[in-house]
């Protein structure tokens, strides 16, 4: 049964209470809520499409999803990037069945309509014989994604013509994104093929896990930490036996984006069996980064374990160097796509080591990653029972202990173990779900740095 508009909104007001940290479990399994999410979150927000390094040359393309919509992202002759629904305008067939590649045209398997990289309908078999030359080809190009924009290598697409610009959408999260995208002059790249896996989880659970859940690390990943941890700098210990609240920050209140960051400038590499070459790279370039980004980010954040979440479904961990999007496939399933991330100024050997270690730790057989899947799946499944669906779950750790921190934007709680970020994530979710249009979605960048502070930082 579909709920009426008003009932749905009342309902959503009830489902989440981000002041006290409470979520109804139904948000992880309900079909109705999921449909609404596809429209109001995935149909509205800026969604990550591709990194420019993945389609460097004209004709390079990459196939991905926006929500459940299949799209192709294509580098144009003039170097710009366009994105289209991967669906033929004739009978709707999927135009491109490859994951990526380079092409001069996309020809549909069914009747052979072919589309050029700019989406134009370039060829129609038997155009004169069958259509008597009467087909207006200009009306049947591929459907373009409403807006496509780039922020320092990250390409995003958005269906909603009334959305804020990408720049405004990212807001203060750019302060942290730059720690990867703009730390070094050469910029950034994603490495290797896409690492894809199906998980039987609601899409919000992995997002909340990585956006704020430092708490699970010492417990869920105890086996991996025991096996590979090369230094003890994260302030977290095996088996959740201790916690260090000074070593890190939980940053939120930036338009629904969140960051977890250690402050030691090296701990991103704590899970590399041999971190030496990377530590040397950090050492050698530390001053450059300080010059570019300032003391705080250059000394404390660059190289540390940093988790950045761009609402709704993108997460990147400079330091640990993995980059991930979650494509929803129904309320209780996702496809998780992962890549290794690097800075272009890194020596080849360091990049190779990053690719290698990312695959080892957070790849498809990743020592750490393999601990999370079953937990997320089970949290989803346990929200589907008749009784469990009526229950709540809580993100109420360290309530009301956040504030401003010198040198950083955002509403900040101390330490990596807190549920501060999750509360902001669900708050943003609720704001979108209750809004009829973008105009009703609040914009906030709490404790934004003044120009002067930024300068000082």
């Amino acid at each position: 049964m579909l709920l009426g508009e008003d009932e749905m909104n009342d309902n959503i007001a009830d489902l989440v209470d981000s002041r006290t940290g409470r979520q109804s479990r139904s948000i992880y399994a309900s079909e109705d809520i999921y449909r609404q999410e596809l429209e109001r979150i995935f149909g509205r927000c800026w969604l990550f499409l591709v990194h420019t390094s993945q389609i460097p040359k004209p004709g390079d393309y990459f196939r991905t999803f926006m929500g459940e919509d299949d799209v192709i992202v294509i580098r144009q002759k003039d170097g710009s990037i366009k994105a289209f629904l991967n669906s033929c305008t004739h009978r709707g067939n999927r135009i491109c069945r490859a994951d990526r590649g380079n092409a001069r045209a996309f020809t549909c398997n069914y009747h052979g309509w072919s589309f050029s990289p700019d989406g134009a309908l370039a060829g129609v078999p038997l155009e004169n014989e069958a259509y008597f030359g009467e087909l207006d080809r200009t009306k049947f190009g591929l459907i373009p994604v409403t807006k496509v924009a780039e922020y320092k290598g990250l390409v995003f697409g958005c269906w909603d013509a009334n959305s804020p610009s990408l720049d405004d959408y990212l807001g203060d999260a750019k302060f942290f994104l730059d720690v990867w995208l703009d730390a070094m002059p050469g910029g950034s790249a994603l490495l290797g093929e896409t690492q894809k896996m199906v998980l039987g989880t609601n899409w919000k659970l992995p997002v909340e896990n990585v956006c704020g859940d430092g708490y699970h690390l010492g417990w869920a990943h105890a086996g991996a930490m025991a096996a590979v941890q090369s230094m003890d700098l994260t302030g977290l210990s095996v088996g959740n036996s201790g916690v260090d609240l000074d070593g890190g920050l939980s940053v939120a209140g930036m338009n629904g984006h969140m960051v977890l960051s250690a402050l030691d400038g090296v701990s991103g590499y704590a899970f590399y069996p041999d971190p030496k070459p990377i530590l040397e790279y950090l050492e050698a370039n530390r001053q450059t980064v300080i010059d570019r980004l300032g003391e705080v980010r250059g000394r404390q954040v660059w190289g540390a374990q940093v988790n950045i979440t761009i609402f709704p479904n993108l997460q990147l961990l400079p330091g640990l160097n993995w980059f991930r999007v979650y494509h929803p496939k129904g309320p209780t399933q996702i496809e998780q796509w992962t890549w290794a991330m690097a800075e272009n100024d890194m020596p080849e050997a360091v990049k190779a080591q990053i690719l290698e270690n990312q695959c080892l730790t957070f790849g498809l057989a990743g020592l750490f990653d393999n601990d999370d899947g079953d937990n997320l799946t089970a949290c989803t499944e346990q929200s589907r029972g008749w009784r469990t669906a009526q229950m709540d779950v809580y993100t109420n750790m360290a309530l009301g202990r956040s504030g401003k921190r010198e040198g950083f934007p955002g509403d900040i709680a101390s330490g990596l173990v807190s549920e501060h970020n999750q509360r902001y994530f669900y708050r943003r979710w609720q704001e979108h779900m209750m809004a009829e249009t973008w105009a009703e979605v609040p914009t906030y960048n709490i404790n934004s740095l003044t120009d002067e502070e930024a300068e000082h930082a």
Binding site: R97, A98, G101, G200, C359, G363, L364, G373, L376, A378
Partner: protein
């Protein structure tokens, strides 16, 4: 230089290596991981590369650093994985899952070295996780096996996984 075709390996070798593959599968099924490590050569290389679905005519170049991997292990790293599995902290494997491997399409081919054979095989791996969650993974394998003393040891394995999206939430298992 003209390569002379190699004579097929003696039947005893074919039988011994085939038996080794079956034994290996049984040890893994029974979680005798130390027994399995003992079947590996000291210089073992154990690899599974990532791939993507591309058009046959696609012209885009390979990645300079390679495609990335699911496994790129030497003996030390395999031991590390085994240590993790044995740490008692890998909650996803406790209670143990029901895993059964079937090895088939075994082809044992001679190489230039007398004590080494190249072996093609197919592995089907059934994993019954919690409740009714069952996954069937299939992979092709190309191995190098070496006889040392009375035993055949695995010297190298290239695995090709037949899934463009991994249909399971972890790979706490060896192929």
């Amino acid at each position: 230089m003209l390569d002379r075709p190699l004579a097929p390996p003696p039947v005893e070798v074919i039988v011994a290596v085939t038996q080794a593959l079956h034994r290996e599968a049984r040890l893994l099924d029974n979680e005798d991981l130390d027994g399995w490590l003992a079947m590996l050569g000291k210089d073992v290389s154990y690899r599974l590369e990532l791939k993507s679905r591309r058009f046959r005519a696609d012209r885009s170049p390979p990645f300079p650093l390679g495609p990335g991997v699911i496994f790129n292990e030497d003996l030390g790293r395999l031991k590390m994985r085994v240590d993790r599995l044995k740490s008692g902290f890998v909650w996803a494997e406790d209670p143990p899952n029901y895993i059964r491997r079937a090895v088939s399409n075994v082809e044992v081919l001679a190489t230039r070295a007398d004590n080494e054979v190249r072996v093609h095989s197919v592995l089907g791996m059934h994993r019954n996780r919690i409740d009714g969650t069952t996954r069937l993974l299939t992979a092709g394998r190309t191995d190098l096996w070496r006889s040392e003393g009375s035993a055949w040891l695995l010297a190298a394995r290239e695995i090709v996984l037949d899934h463009s999206v991994l249909p399971d939430s972890n790979l706490n298992a060896f192929f």
